[in-house]
């Protein structure tokens, strides 16, 4: 199973307890390169906790995490990022007062030496940001615009560009369309589809089944901190997924976790 296509992410039996509260009880998750995986579940099902484990923000209480087949332990989001796993936060985590290029390269600015000083190479950063935005076919009037002057969808695009600017293998997105105007949702979803063509895997948490059915290759449902069901998108109906979210399974013949490979 592992030999055919190496999985970018394989999480095995991840559990996470906060004191007496068990948020995750042995969850499995797999992601292939360039795959878009939708994760659904009711509030408190453990989606966000699982994503925080994958992105290094939380450490699992037990269970194994493999990146490209190699066991890893993330101490912080920094560790995860070094392995090519990036998270786009629900609140976007952009600095509105800074320019687009500065946000895309925040914390990773290029510098050059001038005498004894190391100064930020603004021209190089602008060029890098432009190049990356072009690669993702994100159009902005100018990368020198402040992010606070952008629309919600443009901000989301900048956040995604930021997440993918440095060799990302996987981008985890938590409700990326929740705060967007209707006409902007499509643009962001198309951008997610574009990431696929660059071989970047995406894990998409969304309450909006429209989004899931538009971009995802596969959908998995969590229920009360455990795997509930999953299936390739072509093999599942909308109503069925709605049932999963509420903890109802009509077809008992699809065993959990076996559908994907």
């Amino acid at each position: 199973m592992e030999a055919a296509a190496p999985l970018v992410i394989e999480a095995r039996a991840i559990a996470k307890r906060f004191g007496h509260v068990t948020a995750l009880r042995g969850v499995d998750l797999t992601l292939e390169p360039g795959e878009v995986l939708g994760v659904v579940g009711d509030n408190g099902a453990g989606k966000s906790t699982l994503m925080k484990v994958l992105s290094g923000l939380h450490q699992p209480s037990s269970g194994e995490l493999l990146i490209n087949g190699e066991a890893v332990r993330f101490g912080s989001p920094r560790d995860a990022r070094q392995r090519g796993i990036e998270m786009v936060y629900q609140d976007l985590a952009l600095a509105g007062n800074l320019r687009i290029d500065e946000n895309i390269l925040l914390g990773r600015e290029r510098t050059r030496a001038i005498g004894p000083l190391r100064l930020v190479d603004h021209a190089a950063n602008v060029a890098l940001a432009k190049q990356h935005l072009d690669k993702l076919r994100i159009h902005v009037k100018s990368v020198s615009q402040r992010v606070e002057d952008l629309s919600g969808g443009q901000r989301q695009a900048v956040a995604i560009a930021r997440a993918t600017a440095f060799d990302a293998k996987v981008v985890i997105m938590d409700e990326p369309t929740a705060a967007l105007a209707v006409r902007e949702v499509r643009r962001v979803l198309d951008l997610i589809k574009d990431l696929k063509t660059h071989g970047i895997g995406v894990i998409l948490i969304s309450h909006r089944l429209d989004d899931i059915f538009y971009v995802c290759d596969r959908v998995m449902a969590l229920f009360r901190g455990a795997n509930f069901a999953e299936a390739p998108l072509g093999e599942v109906e909308r109503d069925e997924v709605i049932g999963w979210i509420m903890g109802n399974k009509r077809q008992e013949d699809a065993p959990v976790g076996a559908g994907a490979n």
Binding site: L94, G107, L117
Partner: protein
């Protein structure tokens, strides 16, 4: 139903859009150049009121000399305010730095060490502020630096016995009181010190990674954190630099007055904050420029100068500065509202 209403609605939206865009552009203009306009207006007013005196090189030099120490305090305060913080201790830090040098001078310490003392003392106070804020997880820098305002003032009185100490060596006084003759014009050394400090601060804020990270922290600390920026370390640097500049400011004031006095800088933190806010920095962090702070300091300096020249009662200065602060912040709020509603 929505179908029928939509063309009209769309028209309204476009109008609103254009209008708000126009007002945003106007706001952006004021954001950038508003305070320079204010400097020009102050200059014009001063010239109109006192045509012979105001533009005399003596008077101009005086304005700069008198505001030099405030300029350095404001510059440090600005770094802190960009991170959405505040440093209430700069006035006390100034006094402690100045008194430390004066006390050591009486003890016969050689002048090169005396010159370095205010910098060292200021930086130490700033480091304590920064480390206290981040390591003790103070809910707000207001509290940490309010504590430090009292601590530093108390220490100042303890080391000096609460009395002024005069008789600083000429070398120590030179930065605050000396003049350089450049191209036939006498320029106060303190003014050059201020200009160099502001230029270095500009280079630091605009062209170093740490400088950009300071703005990022002011804009969205969460974004800075998840971007791998060490927010606590950056904040410690910022408060240390603010302390350093307060110490430098104490050195200039000691030079100008030729002594150390324990009541120096009482209330100066509020003048520094005023200058920063008048200069266009936002109290919410992430906004403002070094040039704006310079202009803010000039506005306060010119306003005092004008009122002094016109023999207006000193108390009116306070009233006017208060009015200007409120007017400017009200404007900042309006600007943010306009930006948010568009």
């Amino acid at each position: 139903m929505t179908e029928a209403a939509s063309p009209e609605l769309a028209g309204e939206l476009v109008d609103a859009d254009q209008q708000s865009r126009r007002s945003i552009r106007l706001m952006a203009f004021f954001d950038r150049f508003g305070v320079l306009l204010l400097v020009l207006v102050m200059g014009a007013l001063s010239y109109a009121a006192q045509p012979e005196v105001f533009l005399s090189s003596n008077n101009i030099a005086n304005i700069f000399r008198q505001t030099a120490f405030l300029a350095l305090l404001a510059l440090g305060q600005f770094l802190v305010i960009v991170t959405a913080g505040i440093d209430l201790s700069v006035g006390s830090t100034l006094a402690l730095a100045m008194m430390s040098a004066a006390v050591l001078s009486v003890a016969g310490v050689p002048w090169p060490i005396l010159i370095l003392t205010p910098f060292a003392v200021g930086t130490a106070v700033g480091l304590v502020n920064g480390l206290g804020l981040t390591k003790l997880h103070m809910p707000h820098p207001f509290i940490m630096t309010l504590g430090m305002l009292n601590i530093a003032r108390g220490l100042t009185n303890l080391i000096s016995g609460g009395v002024p100490i005069s008789g600083l060596p000429a070398e120590v006084r030179w930065l605050g009181a000396g003049n350089l003759v450049l191209g036939g014009i006498e320029i106060p050394v303190s003014v050059i010190a201020v200009i160099v400090s502001f230029a270095l601060a500009w280079l630091f804020l605009e062209h170093t990674r740490t400088g950009r990270h300071i703005y990022a922290i002011g804009g969205n600390p969460q974004a800075a954190r998840v971007s791998g920026i060490n927010v606590d370390r950056t904040l410690v640097i910022v408060y240390a630099l603010c302390g350093l500049l307060a110490g430098f400011s104490g050195l200039l004031l000691a030079g100008r007055t030729g002594s150390g006095f324990p009541n120096a800088g009482i209330g100066a933190e509020l003048d520094a904050i005023s200058a920063v806010i008048i200069g266009g920095a936002s109290f919410f962090g992430g906004r403002g420029t070094v040039l704006g702070v310079f202009a803010g300091v000039l506005v306060i300096g010119m306003m005092r100068n004008l009122l002094n020249l016109s023999n207006v009662q000193v108390f009116w200065q306070q009233v006017l500065i208060g009015v200007v602060i409120i007017a400017i912040v009200a404007f900042d709020v309006l600007r943010r509202r306009a930006a948010a509603s568009s």
